[in-house]
Point group: C2
Chain length 242, copies 2
DNA sequence: GGGACGTTTCGGCGGGCGCCGAAGTGTCCC
DNA sequence: GGGACACTTCGGCGCCCGCCGAAACGTCCC
């Protein structure tokens, strides 16, 4: 029997495998995890982040762009890449959530700490996730700012609340203003979409939250605790972390 | 520089890549797509389905079980495997939804037809998805059988409605009785969880829907159209497909 | 123009891994 | 017991592909 015949593994096969193969490499996976912060990175930044030569990074980025997981944007001698969309971010998140690191009974103490920090509060693409993200969403529903009956649509009161905080939501965006996004720790929808992104950006700008090191985990600052208590009635102990 | 140092690709790397690598092979992907019907398959069935030797299938199944994507159950000389849970099914679905086959502007006419059939109605793990699945869920919300305010919880009227149809939902199950599941065609939650599974099973048993060939696509039968119109008020033309 | 720098292309190397067939183990049933 | 059958283990083959460094290309800025 001809060998070529049996080697359909890498060649034809279901298209599903082609997408998975893009994320099956440690370096490309590291790129996507880094890009999960929603920002655009240059090729060199990603190369240094993952610890590979620039030429290697170029090849990986080509593959990811060709596979429609990333979009690129050239500016002068720089090449910026970002995740191609929320679906890609969700895919990366759900892959990570099935990894051994996030399975019950974690191995090491440091891994456990990392896991808990991420479960508490983190960015998911461009909005807040984790226990804090879910708590914020629940509080907004409880105060009538979001309408759970219409896919977490923004109510009139919600729009006023945002305006009151000085949070503007770009109206021209194609994305639905709010969109539920399942959380891997809570398995419950939380606030994504344009509103979620705007809220998250404001929380960073106003110093409510800060990034923990260079990870996706975030910490709620004392000012953030105060603000979230005043504006949403969230209890201080929930936001204290741990 | 030592070569071992730079070869962290396959070895260490982010755990995300390890999960993706399990689905990055055409044969393993074919296994998971087949298992997406929610049933348990034997190793030999899967081997024949994917066109590989039994020994090859064994190795793949070991990898998938070790990676917690599949669970196994030995019965006599048979080894049954099934997807490890709804999260895995969702992962496989979202990988497939990002594959070129499901991207806008499909290539061939046959691929287009397949795509449309799947978009219309299909099984997703153990419940209904596609336009029909979403329509059923919407109708149930509209009739007060599901409560969108509590994560698509079953209302009292909903429980009575199910009982009236003779649909029993196993109470001992750990899974939440209803659970939203995002649809790749509609990008909207539809009815999953124990209730979704029971409803889907009943629809098959009562002859409301039938499988199209050996794919995951399903067709609504004339009897099914009648039943869905009577019990949920769904219009006949929506269910006619195409 | 010329140097600095971000990015790309290309060759070459080497390990990982998916494939098979043959032989071995366990289960079922006559 | 003995044969059929589902599954597993093992050895070997060969391709895929990720890695690098060197050199080329573009852009920017002095």
């Amino acid at each position: 029997m001809d060998r070529m015949d049996t080697r359909r593994t890498r060649g034809a096969g279901p298209d599903l495998a082609a997408v998975a193969r893009l994320l099956a490499d440690g370096t490309r996976a590291a790129f996507c995890l880094a890009l999960l912060d929603g920002r655009a990175w240059t090729a060199t930044e990603l190369a240094r982040h993952a610890g590979v030569a620039p030429s290697t990074a170029t090849e990986h980025l080509h593959a990811l762009v060709r596979g429609h997981l990333l979009t690129e944007e050239r500016q002068g001698r720089h090449r910026y890449v970002r995740l191609a969309g929320p679906q890609v971010a969700e895919l990366v998140e759900s892959l990570a959530s099935l990894a051994p690191e996030h399975r019950p009974a974690p191995r090491s103490l440091s891994a456990d700490g990392r896991r808990r920090a991420l479960a508490h509060a983190r960015t998911c693409y461009d909005h807040l996730a984790g226990a804090v993200g879910v708590a914020v969403t629940d509080a907004m529903i409880g105060r009538g700012l979001l309408d759970p009956a219409h896919g977490l649509g923004l109510t009139g009161a919600g729009a006023a609340w945002l305006a009151d905080l000085g949070i503007g939501v770009p109206p021209g965006t194609r994305r639905p203003s709010v969109r539920p996004c399942l959380d891997w720790t809570e398995r419950r929808p939380h606030l994504a979409g344009a509103v979620g992104a705007a809220l998250c950006r404001h929380a960073f700008d106003a110093g409510w939250i800060t990034r923990v090191g260079s990870t996706r985990a975030v910490a709620v600052t004392p000012a953030g605790r105060q603000a979230l208590h005043r504006h949403l009635g969230l209890p201080g102990d929930l936001l204290a972390g741990r």
